[in-house]
Amino acid sequence: MSFYQGLQAETVSFRGHNGDQGEAYYARPTRAGKFPGVVVIHHIPGWCEWTTEVVRKLAHHGYAAISPHLYFREGNPGEAPDDLGARIRAAGGVADAQVMGDVAGAMAYLRAQPNATGKIGVIGFCSGGRHTYLAACTLPGIDAAVDCWGGNVVVDDPKALNDKRPVAPIDLTEKMTCPLLGIFGNDDANPTADQVNRTEAVLKKLGKTYEFHRYDGAGHAFFNTLRDAYRPEQAIDGWRRVFDFFNRNLAASASSIAAE
């Protein structure tokens, strides 16, 4: 067997919140066997090329990964995702309930595949990190969740809550049912180091299974190779933590490639 295994990546159709049909980017190893699934929740600017790279990276490491396009309702298939993101922003963003429905739909898509083990992880970046925290607290059937620098998990200004985002995720922590991995840059302004500490304090107080990794010399989005924020050393270690966490909790025996 070759060290580097093949993968297949494509845009697929999935059923999201309310049964709405939308697009998702899906990648899986092509070798024989069964694979755990991971839902990738994209960041606030939208369903971007870097998000597809994350999906393929997960497939490269032995996971069937899917990233639902959370803004698909704003346009037609084939329309540029950044334009849909602009419309969503002008409309005040997407509702948490809708995102949770879309994540649940993506999880169902993964479970329905013949090569699925049934184990499901969720990973999200930026606003997707916050969505991951929410999913870990509100969606059944998640085996491991990774929050990468999700902002607004702690809400200090009640005016930041509204019809679309009615509850601060931190207030749902008691309902968290899966292990949580948190990855944060200490120079980040949202979440700040203090907010990360307060999130950890709540997890600890409630006896949740979690591990947080904080990185000096890194801010927001330091995994993102397409941004000036990219920090190679911290990102390499962060990815190692992510795959170690998924391997332990999703039993990805098929994954044998060290995180790069």
Partner: protein, 97 residues
């Protein structure tokens, strides 16, 4: 900053986008993570025509410093342009009424 905070400005004008020229009536302005720029945060402006549904846009993503410099140059251009295009002062004194 992972926010959905948007400042809206009503406009009268036109912009050239993917489909050519279009009338615009709105600028959605925000300072947040970009889609294309490599910067952590950008001052982004989406010029749209909300009166026609707002589906097409002309977009820019600017660094904070260059956005401030642009504001300054816009004001300078308006000042110099308005001065240059102002009617010349009358050569014959106008009788006071």
């Amino acid at each position: 900053m992972c926010s959905y905070i948007v400042e809206k400005a009503a406009l009268v004008g036109s912009a050239k986008g993917r489909k050519g020229w279009m009338k615009i009536d709105t600028a959605n302005v925000y300072y947040d993570h970009p889609y294309h720029s490599t910067l952590d945060h950008v001052l982004a402006i989406d010029f749209t025509n909300e009166g026609e549904g707002g589906r097409d846009r002309v977009a820019v993503e600017l660094s904070a410093d260059s956005a401030r410099a642009l504001i300054d140059r816009i004001l300078a251009a308006l000042a110099s342009g308005e001065a240059a295009h102002a009617l010349p002062a009358p050569s014959v004194p106008v009788a006071a009424e």
